[in-house]
């Protein structure tokens, strides 16, 4: 068998290894919590413990870290730099839409860049930010567009919709999506999802009139739940750990918080 054949097979194998790392999002009545761990793994090695998988899609006009370079063809001046955030994540102030992805890191970064650029174009053309449900549709289309050679990125999009209610959209690798009240994707998802199902007790979608899928928990309770759930997933999933990046979106804006997870 030719070595290129070997290599293609290995590439496909890598894609089938499973979405590396874990991301979780929970929607509340007026907030949304989007979280992901920061471990970057290849095989049984950890490449780095400090790699953000979250992309803030609401105002790519204000990037920090190495996003600055990636956008320098598009922006003339850097409008502000947030001092406390020095990871390579796209960050900004007024925000309603955050994307967390797990899977193959090359594809994830390419997808995030693609979406952020489309968001920027939208802002220039329509003089307003893209709403979360619009971004959800755009992401779905972007993923399906590459149906023949998919982005190996399993996504969770979280934010506030136009009424200010929390929304979470959960995806597969080729763009099929659904608006839900909470979601977990990645290697830890099978460990986390049952716990979320139990704790957040989403009403059945078969009920009429349709009930809200968002949780009635308060913001701080949701954040505590997410921390607990990740701490548990870290115990058993080798690809999850090191640090947890928590992004909370509410009326006031976006807040970023980090907590340490087990490093083994």
């Amino acid at each position: 068998m030719s070595r290129l054949g070997d290599w293609v097979y290995r590439l496909q194998e890598q894609r089938r290894v499973g979405s590396l790392s874990t991301c979780v999002a929970i929607a509340g009545a007026d907030y949304c919590v989007v979280t992901a761990d920061t471990r970057l793994s290849v095989g049984y090695s950890i490449l780095t413990r400090d790699h953000s998988k979250i992309c803030d899609l609401s105002s790519p006009l204000l990037p920090v870290g190495d996003a600055t370079t990636l956008f320098s063809p598009y922006i003339d001046t850097i409008l502000s730099v947030s001092p406390k955030l020095n990871l390579c994540s796209y960050v900004c102030r007024a925000d309603k839409c955050v994307l967390a992805s797990s899977g193959f890191q090359g594809d994830i970064k390419a997808l995030h860049k693609n979406l952020a650029a489309r968001e920027l174009l939208y802002q220039h053309q329509h003089n307003k930010w893209m709403s979360c449900p619009s971004m959800a549709q755009l992401l779905s289309n972007t993923l399906y567009f590459k149906r023949s050679s998919p982005y190996y990125a399993i996504n969770v999009l979280g934010g506030l919709d136009s009424e200010g209610k929390g929304c979470v959209f959960t995806y597969d690798a080729v763009g099929s999506y659904e608006r839900t009240g909470y979601s977990a994707q990645g290697t830890g998802s099978s460990l986390i999802m049952p716990v979320l199902d139990n704790q957040l007790k989403s009403p059945s979608p078969l009920l009429l009139p349709a009930r809200d899928a968002v949780t009635r928990l308060s913001e701080s309770e949701a954040i505590d739940l997410v921390k607990d759930v990740f701490a548990s997933a870290t115990e058993r999933d080798i690809y999850t750990g090191d640090k947890l990046e928590i992004v909370v979106i509410n009326k006031a804006g976006t807040k970023l918080e980090y907590i340490d997870l087990r490093k083994d």
Partner: protein
């Protein structure tokens, strides 16, 4: 594990197998597997900039064919690139004054897009540099590998170094090391790699990049110790116990 493809070609053979006949008139050019490969590159940030080191050997399959290969090159005024993997796949920027982050971005895109076309550059590249940013001199150290996975860190090691050197770097690296401390740490890692990586040789090059520019030092060797009692009379246990 993509590094394995780079450092160790077809197991057991002396040289890589001959390339399969090109289909379709030989227009397709693909590195289907690496021919001449370099092994690990180690790099870390220190107080004044970034230090990068690697050995100067290149293997042709399991033969250590070339012993004086420079795998670290300066790019522009601000960066150094160190490469492990196939040596003919090195691609160099031509000296315009891009900063290290920009070069890292560019390399990432190149590697990722080549990988998408199933025509990969069979390399792991380490990119280090210092450039004036909004907060003064900013040190930058990043890595891109064959399939486009890229990240930025305080210390990087590719190839075997990923397994042997990273634990040492994680334990002993700290912010603002002096140049001497950084060199000692790097030499410690290089020594471990020399003992344990079969494709490394005892001839290393260290390069540093600071705000003033890059310096690639001439190659030199490390002292090794082989005086273990078990090595002294290797034929001692030759008869065997059964």
């Amino acid at each position: 594990w993509q590094q394995a493809m780079g450092s160790h070609t077809a197991g057991g053979s002396q040289a890589p197998p001959p390339p399969p006949a090109a289909a379709g008139g030989g227009e397709t050019q693909r590195t289907q597997y690496p021919y001449v490969t370099g092994t690990s590159v180690i790099a870390l940030k220190y107080k004044d900039g970034v230090i990068m080191a690697c050995d100067t050997g290149a293997s042709y399959g399991s033969t250590l064919r070339y012993k004086s290969v420079e795998r670290i090159k300066a790019v522009g005024k601000h960066s150094l690139i160190g490469a492990s993997g196939d040596l003919s796949d090195h691609m160099w920027d031509d000296g315009n004054s891009l900063g290290p982050k920009e070069i890292h971005s560019y390399l990432t895109r190149v590697m990722y897009n080549r990988r998408n076309k199933f025509d990969p550059l069979w390399n792991s590249l380490v990119l280090g540099g210092v450039k004036k940013g909004p907060k003064g001199d900013e040190k930058y150290l990043g890595m891109v590998n064959m399939i486009g996975t890229h990240f930025e860190e305080n210390h990087i090691a590719t190839g075997f170094g990923n397994h042997l050197a990273i634990p040492i770097l994680r334990a002993e690296w700290h912010e603002d090391m002096t140049f001497e401390e950084a060199v000692k740490l790097v030499e410690k890692c290089l020594l471990v790699l020399l003992y344990r990586d079969r494709s490394s040789i005892n001839k290393f090059q260290i390069a540093k990049i600071t705000a003033e520019g890059s310096t690639i030092y001439p190659p030199y060797s490390l002292k090794t110790y082989w005086g273990f009692s078990h090595f002294e009379n290797p034929a001692q246990g030759a008869v065997g116990s059964w």
